[in-house]
Symmetry: C2
Subunit: 187 residues, 2 copies
């Protein structure tokens, strides 16, 4: 890569990575992650990561959205790639921003379109977990905690507007694996 | 820019723009647009674009999300930049994918936090329109049509799960500016 410099392009109002030779501006934009909480009879599909970061930890089937697909297509593609699952999307459960790393996560609620699943190349293992069985200490990312708790909050209910980021206190409670919610009706 | 070639990187499954000299992979990802339908007493805030594309046409306050902000912060920033409006977000109205151009739009429903607004540098003019006054023939982008119709569909109701892309028929009906919906309760 050429030695880009940080410079405010004409008509812009903030510094961008710019090639000092040709003036090419390499705009940096947040990336979109699409994923799903896929459940069947109250049990949730989780994948144990075969790749870094967080190899060996459990996550939702999710990954970077590709060009020329919709968020829905991306979520279905990731479920296939990581869990060899054909899923049916119900709607968006949450839209989380991870501003520190420039990421937006669009998380769907989903069911199985076909009953089979299996570890894809990026997963060591894929399993259904009842809520009480979820390996809270081995969850890969905070947003997986958030998504699971949001799923539980909405279980058995029509989807409302998607959740945004939790407050710091809510996020901390979820990290401690407590459910910061009133007792829920049966899943 | 060096002459990038399209090549499948090791461990990947599709072609990426790659520098033949150093192997740098320029991943292309969809970009996120954040925007809002801001209303007050049933009237909606629209901005007439001062910049290409679609200069002179009407749009919502919306634009590309920046690094290190949340979708909510981005939507508020765009309302300020384009319409000098301080807004209060209620929730997500829609998440649209414009796959052809690699774009995901997160559209909020919002009200005014302060009553003032004015054209920012990217707007020729900013106005509140009653539904019947909306200049349908001079709307800048299809997703503005979609967002406005979604807003009307949800007017006076709690936000449900955000809409995804309309079907082709629904989109066509919205382009024809018809409201493809049952008569709505008063706005």
């Amino acid at each position: 890569m050429p030695d880009f410099v940080r410079r405010v392009p004409p008509g812009d109002d903030r510094e961008r990575l710019t090639c000092p030779d040709c003036g090419f501006v390499a705009y940096e934009n947040p990336k979109i992650v699409v994923g799903s909480v896929v459940s069947e009879g109250g049990r949730i599909l989780l994948c144990r990561r075969a790749i870094e970061p967080r190899r060996g930890f459990w996550t939702l089937p999710a990954g970077y959205m590709e060009m020329a697909e919709t968020v829905e297509e991306g979520a279905r593609r990731e479920a296939w790639e990581e869990a060899r699952a054909r899923i049916e999307l119900e709607g968006i459960l949450a839209v989380y921003s991870v501003a520190r790393i420039g990421q937006v996560q669009v998380i769907f609620r989903a069911g199985f379109a076909e009953p089979d699943f299996a570890a894809g190349p990026e997963s060591l293992e894929v399993r259904l977990f009842a809520w009480e069985e979820i390996p809270w200490d081995d969850i890969a990312f905070p947003t997986v905690h958030w998504s699971l708790h949001r799923w539980r909050e909405m279980a058995g209910r029509p989807l409302g507007a998607p959740a945004g980021n939790p407050t710091e206190a809510e996020a901390a409670a979820m990290r401690r694996n407590a459910t910061p919610l009133d007792p829920q009706p049966g899943l």
